[in-house]
């Protein structure tokens, strides 16, 4: 796209022949620079652009020099070195003649991209706005589409999906040519927007649109893979991501390696292949931390935290979890900064307009205008400060509300229908009493879940009622393959203590599915409680096959995901009152160090 921009320049050169030769070496270097760049071979590309830079300097040709710098900046960007890339492109901008609009606009757009990658949204916004202003008047449509898309993308990154959608729509109105780069880029971004809004079908449709003209696009295949991941279609996600991973490894395209490694790591994690998951996540993590690619850094550390949690390596899990939390914090500050900047831009434009009008009105009131403008500015600043605080508070509140909603207790549909199936068996088999007994218990359980589903917390008494009903039904499903005991010390005020709704069930479900059902002989599940100084201590102990064997068997994943969600729900519940760690998992071992089961301890902060 950018390699057709060379204008032969014959200034400063005395001999035409030498000019030919000198220019041809420069052009050659530039051509091969871009050739390698498009193949994502950043190092080779860099060498060629380096040659071009030296050549341009020798020829003392500013235009060439700027072209070469711009190329080098892009190569540096592809190599993942964002700071240097931005500096180099800024430098190039200084050497182009001022009337060379096309170059300016293209370079500012790339620059905006470069700034956006490590999360510098303010600079990214500025660059794209400068380019848009330059493109006003005799404007270039292709550039206009790309600039609008870039602006939309920046808004999307700061979470303002409305504005993003608005700018994409504007880009659509420019009617980009189907199958060409601006068209593909636009649909790619729209796909991401739909994905962010969880409109999966529309997202997939947009992504498929951007295949037109470039059916093998790696980025789009990655996006489709990520889309399937969001929908928990792990096989399909793998189908998209794995080939890309294999393709980009040899060419060392770090962005794509990191993106695919994280995706594949998540899949491996969900499918219980923890060894592979650790390997992939660690690769992505080291790439991200070396190159400072913010979003990969964040998602890689989150993934590693989850994996180590599942592996039972509490130390490493905590390390990555903390890292993830702090990155998230920084990210949200970046988002706030971006939002603040976008807001300031709008109010500046407004006060600029007011300023112009009052000047036009009369010169006599110029003094007054200054006062008014000063006042307006003071007000605007006060307003911004106030709003910033406000937005911050509101967003924080909303985030935790949403989190609660997402984590709220749910009943596994498999469980529901399998219970009904078992009850059906008793009816068909004319065991009327048994059928009626289990049907009644099942209805009670469903009723309790329905009644309590909207609540944050219920009394321990109710929680235990639900748990007993649940365990009775599981016993029924598996023909008494296990027994359970619930041990409550005398004097525990179960009706007075508040616990998160349905907090114990997922841990029990996990113990049954991963531990007890694989065991030869009778399974035992023991649940016991202790209460002191506002902390309820719950111990859930099974004599199942243990975590390592369960992982080796590759048992079902959905329940352990339920367990993880529940753990975060518990952490959230505890955080409301006090920041403390809230869960421990141990292997139980006999004298010969043989694993004899698993123990989970929950700490629930619940004052009387």
């Amino acid at each position: 796209m950018l390699n057709k921009i060379f204008i032969p320049c014959l200034l400063f050169i005395s001999s035409w022949a030498t000019a030919q030769k000198a220019d041809s070496f420069f052009n050659e270097s530039m051509d091969s620079g871009y050739h390698y760049l498009f193949k994502f071979m950043a190092r080779e590309s860099m060498q060629n652009f380096g040659n071009a830079i030296r050549e341009a300097r020798r020829l003392n040709n500013n235009h060439h020099y700027a072209d070469a710098l711009f190329g080098a900046g892009q190569a540096t960007w592809y190599a993942g070195n964002f700071k240097n890339a931005a500096d180099t492109i800024e430098l190039a901008l200084k050497f182009w003649p001022a009337d060379d609009k096309k170059h300016f606009i293209g370079a500012y757009r790339i620059l905006s991209n470069v700034y956006d990658d490590p999360g510098e949204s303010e600079k990214a916004f500025k660059a794209v706005q400068l380019a848009l202003i330059k493109n006003e008047g005799s404007r270039d449509e292709e550039n206009q589409v790309l600039l609008l898309v870039q602006l939309g993308k920046l808004y999307q990154n700061i979470g303002d999906l409305e504005s993003a959608s608005h700018y994409y729509q504007m880009a659509l109105d420019e009617k980009p040519v189907k199958g060409e780069y601006p068209f593909r880029e636009l649909h790619h971004c729209m796909g991401e927007l739909y994905a962010a809004r969880k409109q999966f079908d529309s997202a997939a449709w947009s992504y498929r649109q951007s295949f037109i003209g470039n059916p093998l696009s790696r980025v789009i295949r990655i996006r489709l893979g990520e889309l399937h991941l969001m929908q928990q279609h792990y096989d399909s996600a793998y189908y998209f991501l794995h080939p890309v991973y294999e393709e980009v490894l040899p060419v060392n395209d770090i962005n794509m390696i990191a993106a695919t490694a994280i995706g594949l790591g998540k899949i491996a994690y969900e499918q219980g292949d923890l060894r592979n998951a650790v390997k992939l996540a660690t690769d992505a993590y080291s790439i991200a931390s070396q190159k400072g690619v913010f979003r990969f850094y964040e998602s890689a550390s989150e993934l590693l935290a989850s994996i180590y949690e599942k592996l039972g390596d509490a130390g490493s899990a905590l390390h990555y979890r903390k890292l993830y939390d702090s990155l998230k914090e920084t990210a949200s500050t970046d988002v706030f900064k971006g939002q603040l900047f976008a807001f300031r831009q709008r109010s500046e434009a407004a006060s600029h307009e007011a300023d112009m009008q009052s000047l036009r009105a009369s010169k006599k009131i110029a003094d007054r205008t200054i006062i008014i403008v000063c006042l307006a500015a003071v007000l605007a600043i006060a307003f911004i400060v106030f709003r910033y605080q406000n937005i911050r508070l509101r967003l924080k509140q909303r985030a935790s509300e949403l989190e609660m909603q997402a984590l709220r207790a749910q009943m596994n549909p498999h469980f529901i229908f399998n219970c009904l199936s078992a009850i059906n068996h008793f009816i068909l088999d004319n065991q009327n009493d048994k059928a009626s007994d289990y049907l009644t218990r099942f209805s009670r359980l469903v009723r309790m879940v329905l009644v309590n589903a909207g609540k944050d917390a219920i009394s321990l008494e109710e929680e235990l009622d639900m748990l007993r009903l649940y365990l009775d039904m599981e016993q029924l499903r598996f023909k008494q393959a296990f027994t359970y005991t619930i041990d409550i010390p005398n004097g525990l005020p179960a009706s007075q203590l508040q616990v998160p709704c349905f907090i114990l069930q997922p841990f029990c479900e996990n113990a049954i599915w991963h531990g007890l059902l694989h065991k030869e002989g009778e399974g035992k599940l023991a649940i016991s409680f202790k209460y002191f100084e506002g902390i309820l201590l719950v111990t859930i102990r099974d004599n199942g096959i243990g975590r390592q064997k369960a992982a080796a068997l590759g048992t079902k994943q959905h329940s352990s995901m339920g367990q993880q969600l529940t753990a975060s729900r518990l952490a959230l519940f505890n955080k409301n009152r006090d920041e403390r760690s809230s869960m421990e998992i141990h292997d139980l071992k006999d004298a010969n160090e043989e694993v004899t089961g698993t123990e989970i301890i929950l700490y629930i902060q619940t004052p009387l």
Partner: protein, 250 residues
């Protein structure tokens, strides 16, 4: 007589199915029940059943993974599942049979009636291959779908379908090559299968391939002109969705 086995990890679900079979389908003799894919693999090799009732969700290895060991299959398959929307969709796509648990005797009888020829044929292999492909790569381009016609099954590439028209319990498919196929499924069922593949219900009795719309003609609900020159009515209630979809496409 049909020699069958039941594969299900939940003992009572398996028992319920066997009771239902005894009661409603005396032709079917259940030779044994397995509670894991591992056991089933052994039993299938040993007993060579004609029909396998296969639960999809099981620990260790699921029903699909078991099937992969027996391609091409030497037996007919009826899937059983309690809840797995994703798998159900894939199964319907291949026009294979599945039963939802708890099992409805009427559905069970209908499924058994279809297993009239207990010998699996070339077609079943194709259907199962299509199923495996759909499970593995649901978004693959050039997707094909198996359609139960009056004569048998027809494999069709989705992008060659222009539109579908409801006629009570049947649906007429109009194809790119102007051929028409009458399918023994309701338009509602077809819609559920194709809505993720660029098809839109624009009317009580019309389901259209969005890519085959030539243009939209204004009116109360309006009509769409299809690439084969047919004009189809759009109902008032679907107009807005259609326009939105077309706009995004542009």
């Amino acid at each position: 007589m049909i020699r069958a086995i039941v594969v299900d990890d939940e003992p009572y679900a398996s028992a319920a199915l066997q009771t239902l079979l005894k009661k409603h389908c005396p032709d079917v003799v259940v030779e044994t029940a397995c509670n894991s894919a591992l056991e089933a693999e052994r039993v299938i090799i040993e007993l060579k059943p004609q029909l396998v009732f296969l639960d999809i969700e099981m620990p260790h290895r699921n029903g699909f993974e078991l099937l992969e060991h027996f391609m091409p299959p030497s037996f007919q398959v009826i899937f059983t599942t309690s809840y797995d929307q994703y798998a159900i969709k894939a199964i319907r796509f291949s026009a294979l049979d599945y039963l939802l648990k708890p099992i409805d005797p009427q559905e069970l009888k209908a499924a058994i009636a279809k297993v009239s020829k207990p010998d699996p044929n070339e077609l079943l292999t194709q259907q199962l291959q299509l199923l495996m492909q759909t499970i593995r790569e649901p978004a693959a381009t050039g997707n094909r779908i198996a359609l139960p016609t009056l004569e048998g099954l027809q494999m069709v590439a989705i992008d060659t379908i222009l539109y579908c028209i409801a006629s009570s319990n049947y649906t007429t498919f109009v194809m790119k090559d102007k051929k028409k196929l009458v399918i023994s499924r309701t338009l509602k069922e077809i819609e559920e299968m194709l809505e993720d593949h660029g098809f839109l219900r624009i009317h009580h009795s019309h389901l259209v391939n969005i890519n085959a719309i030539e243009k939209y003609i204004r009116g109360e609900g309006g009509t769409v002109l299809m690439t084969d020159g047919t004009e189809l009515d759009v109902s008032r209630s679907r107009k807005e969705t259609l326009l939105k979809t077309l706009q995004i496409r542009k």
